[in-house]
Symmetry: C2
Subunit: 180 residues, 2 copies
């Protein structure tokens, strides 16, 4: 029982972050000009717009679909590989406000699904097969969803900060984020 209550607690903590991320992106990016949302950090890197499109794609194809594979098939059916650049075509022609709405809507539905499962400690310990990483657990997948959100919020902040690399003059020595 101790194990079970620890794990439920961990899931509640994960949900705290997962339910906040869309609003954090909306507060940061909603109505922002393309001067901030369009530039990236170089070839094959993400702009703020791309970061958001990537999160939208993850809501559709990554977290809940993979959790469902674990719950239904365990390790017998490996996850489909995740296309890290799918948003390049999926986001084409969309505006940042469209993506913010889509992210919030998909996330709300996905968290309803997750809560509806009322996962037990036994289920959180179930294993799946990642196509490259091998054996993973459902708890690890859900924790990764949280870290992935936070990583892309940090990345979005960083790509925006870099737009002022030259504007800050000598302060660049104190602000490593523009050179990361």
């Amino acid at each position: 029982m101790a194990e079970r209550s620890d794990t439920s607690f961990a899931l509640a903590n994960a949900l705290e972050v997962l339910e906040r991320t869309p609003a954090a992106f909306r507060a940061l990016l909603g109505g922002l000009s393309e001067r901030w949302t369009a530039p990236n950090e170089g070839p094959e890197t993400f702009s703020a717009f791309d970061n958001l499109g990537h999160l939208v794609h993850g809501e559709r194809t990554d977290w809940i679909p993979r959790a469902r594979i674990i719950l239904e098939h365990g390790r017998s059916r490996p996850f489909d590989p995740f296309d890290r650049f799918a948003q390049v075509h999926e986001s084409r022609g969309k505006r940042i406000g469209d993506l913010l709405d889509e992210f919030a809507r998909l996330r709300t539905g996905n968290l309803e699904t997750l809560r509806g499962w009322r996962l037990t400690a036994r289920e959180l310990a179930l294993e799946g097969e990642h196509p490259a990483l091998g054996r993973v657990t459902l708890a690890q997948l859900l924790a990764t969803w949280v870290v992935h959100d936070l990583g892309h919020l940090a990345q979005t902040s960083r790509v925006m900060a870099k737009q002022y690399r030259d504007e800050i003059g000598p302060w660049r020595a104190y602000l490593p984020i523009v050179d990361r």
Copy 2:
């Protein structure tokens, strides 16, 4: 005149970010449990709570006060040094909601002050004396304010992400943010 309109444009861009940051922090941290807001990244590093306290301190003592020194005294009066750990005592006993309110209120007032100055290109090029970095311009100070906001949003995301370093299992290989 070309120079002037370029510079006004740059200030408008800076304001776009500066006016959004408090809401981004509120969306991310408002109502969040201490399990996420209290841990830091090791000795002499900031928790999410500390990051926010540090931003509050900056609103009181750094950006607008320094801009005022440049406008009134130029390089003849160096800036007061900024205490990077002032929030340790200033935030004591406060809750995250208190700091979020304080940050939003101070930022709103500071941006009113900034807008009220209706800075010209000539003024944005005025110089001040940083106690360690030497000669800086008002434009650089204001750009640094923006990057500083974004840097602490990234840092806040990172310290939170690190709380799940062990929970993500093999995905750690794909999520460098937990080891940065």
